[in-house]
Symmetry: C2
């Protein structure tokens, strides 16, 4: 069984020195850890963490997805996700991890007959217009993902695309080019889908955006590109069992959360995720949302102002050794660096034995790129250690659906557990409302007159603070 | 003239409140600012900042590049950069800013006859093998970029590709598929280039990697994809003039540095760059190296241990409103958020007037995506302001070669100036040596026996700190 592992030696004072964490720090948290364990258990049992059951309760959904993929895949050139936040980051992360890095440039044959995948996750007008340069909309299947059906970004794209399709195709035919992933009962999108006859998959009502990758939000795009979604869920289920372990020294998710929590208390307000594998690059993007949006909170559970949260930073090894590692080794002691490693790559490539007489190149001859990337990873861990910078490593024996399922689920549990330790609500996002409301007000949406007034009355900018 | 502008209203206490900066804070720095101005002037005059002259002294180089591009472009399908750090980040940032976001997927015709562009900036074996799935090496031109010719990552890729080419083509023909960008005199690569007859462009010896985008490092890949490199340099020259302004209230680079420096002193150890335009997304990656590697330093100019540096974070508007903005608004007061805005996009797309009866969607009807992205940017600036989070905005009237040249040059000057204020050396990177040396030692490179011994003797990891 390919099981992922967590090595936190370089987090500990025994190794990293004074800026590290000692076992006593962990022991001191015993009461808090027990309370967090209990809260996690209670929330799961009382239906407040529905994402935890996703590995188990989707047999029917999975069959429906696979059948749908089978029905439609030959008729479309590209599958286009219209989604933002978790609806985009999850699908991108899994596609990039499992499939060919140049997937969309391959022939249909090399893609094993599956369509291309695009994810439109911004409202940049250039990006959208240029997408239409690249694909023929009448040969695309558009997957509109929005639980509420009122996400401005996604729905505005949807409105544009719906009209384009209906201009080019008979209405009934156009409807076949749209598939919705939304709430089963509430919101605009489910109503439209029923009226127009769009194919629909459901997001369980208790699962929030950043925890939704293992719902049809992520499963449909993955299956559409030939990714084995059953294995993805199996990996998550396997990790769920591991995460039931009460001893935190045997529970990677809990230990990850505990170390992060103690680190935050030491002023480490930055959480770097640095995969040493291009395939895992976008796991960092997905994690950045999960960690930031869950733990970045103004109030704790008692309503006290706390302004907490660790800022995620996306890096990539070895590439960022030539960009960020100077700062990581020599800069402030303000980070926990989480390295993602891979034991076994899918490909091997050997550096030829030439330039044997050049000292700075000769040693590379006969070495594989696999050895080179692994050795540089070890060297970076060592350099960080030597400069007293806390780091830990999560290793995937191989990158496949089963290990990615484990990794995503482990980080989700770690995030939930960190939220309990911090005594905040990891599952809401009140801080995004202000910007949304200001947007509505500026567009004159009815009901936002007060906000409009507030905006109109804000003090004028000072010209001396603008350099033109 | 399209001039970029800096709006720092939301950095100031008059607007953002207690966590902001007041004019008095800036006045107090007067002496330090004067000293920094003098140091910048002196360094330039004594040839210690050769990158500052790049907008002026490359007429011949530019002509040679354009001529070379003209000669070779029709014969190749793809131009492949082998480079890491600045040699990759600069070319990617400019390509993404100026050219079509799906450039490599377009027909040759839509690419105006220019080849595809790939940048191989990692030693991941999968990525390299998969690149060979995607392109025919005998139809590629490989641009090996390394000043010293001893960058392990780049040179190992070069060795693999050189052998592949020579297996498939007569040696003389193979040599035509390689172009080197390197030092004119020193290092392995220039020697090899001369021996093998490779076409070569030079990196001025006084220009470091992260300041090299306006040398052939960046100019050759840009010109090869049809980007107007003369305009890029013109933009940089235009900004250089602006940066000669002594009054920091009229000098955007100096003001950017001063505000960042004061922010760091207030504990803001994070610098977020958040473009509201997909085209500018990779400017953040380029900036992340520039800012991190230049300012992340252990020692100050007097040799005192200081462990300074602000950690750059890459974000993207509006996308990351659904990922990072919850943390930015509600989390700690530990960031300066630099927004990049665009006045005028190259394309316009209008949201159709449908769903007029649905309150959460009706207001979108008839609005352009251009208005939507701009409005959301303003709304986010407002939400950040309202939550007391310092932010400033750099606006490009349009995204083109001239404004990108300005932006890159402005950020370079800002970085240099910040280094002076911090009293550190912004132009070295001693912190990357430890990892390099450890890599050499692990591969048994002669001369690294001591380091090998040190590594062999490091304490064994504790098994209880590994969860398997």
């Amino acid at each position: 069984m390919d099981k992922i592992r967590l090595d936190f030696n370089n987090m500990m004072t025994d190794f990293v020195g004074e800026h590290g964490i000692c076992e006593g720090d962990i022991r001191k948290l015993e009461g808090k850890i027990d309370a967090a364990k209990k809260a996690m258990k209670d929330k799961r049992e009382t239906g407040k963490m529905d994402w935890r059951d996703l590995p188990y309760n989707q047999d029917e959904v999975v069959e429906e997805i696979l059948q749908y993929v089978n029905e439609v895949k030959d008729d479309i050139e590209a599958f286009v996700v219209l989604g933002i936040g978790g609806s985009a980051l999850g699908p991108i992360a899994v596609q990039q991890a499992i499939n060919h890095p140049y997937y969309n440039e391959l022939s249909r044959d090399k893609r094993k007959g599956f369509p291309k995948l695009y994810v439109a996750d911004n409202v940049d007008p250039e990006k959208l217009v240029y997408l239409f340069d690249t694909v023929d909309v009448t040969k695309c299947l558009f997957n509109c993902i929005s639980k509420s059906g009122s996400t401005s970004e996604t729905m505005s794209q949807f409105m544009i695309i719906k009209e384009m399709l209906e201009e080019r195709l008979p209405k009934e035919e156009a409807a076949k080019h749209i598939v919705c992933t939304t709430d089963k009962v509430n919101g605009n999108l489910i109503r439209m889908a029923k009226e127009e006859g769009y194919k629909t998959f459901y997001i369980p009502s208790g699962v929030g955006g950043r925890f939704s990758e293992l719902t049809p939000v992520g499963l449909l795009p993955a299956a559409m590109c030939g990714i084995d979604i059953k294995e993805l869920l199996k990996g998550a289920a396997y990790m769920d069992e591991i995460c039931k372990e009460g001893d935190i020294y045997k529970n990677p998710a809990y230990m990850f959360a505990v170390l992060s929590y103690i680190g935050m208390g030491q002023g480490k307000n930055i959480s770097v995720m640095m995969p040493y594998a291009d395939s895992l690059k976008y796991i960092s993007d997905w994690y950045a949302q999960l960690w930031a949006e869950s733990l970045g909170k103004k109030y704790d559970n008692n309503g006290k102002e706390v302004y907490v949260g660790q800022t995620p930073v996306k890096a990539l090894g070895v590439t960022d050794q030539h960009s960020q590692v100077q700062l990581y080794t020599e800069g402030p002691f303000d980070k926990i660096i989480v390295i993602l490693g891979v034991d076994e790559f899918k490909e091997t490539i050997t550096i030829p034995k030439i330039y044997g007489d050049i000292p700075s190149l000769g040693f590379l001859g006969g070495v594989t790129q696999n050895q080179l990337i692994k050795t540089e990873q070890t060297a970076t861990e060592y350099a960080l250690l030597k400069s007293g910078k806390t780091n830990m490593t999560i290793t995937l024996p191989k990158v496949n659906e089963f290990t990615i399922g484990q990794l995503l689920y482990m980080l989700e549990v770690a995030t939930g557990f960190a939220g309990e330790l911090m005594e905040i609500n990891a599952f809401d996002q009140p801080g995004v409302e202000e910007g949304k409301n200001a947007t509505y007000a500026m567009f004159g949406r009815p009901g936002y007159e007060e906000k409009k007034k507030e905006l109109d009355e804000r003090p004028a900018k000072k010209d001396k603070y603008i350099i033109r």
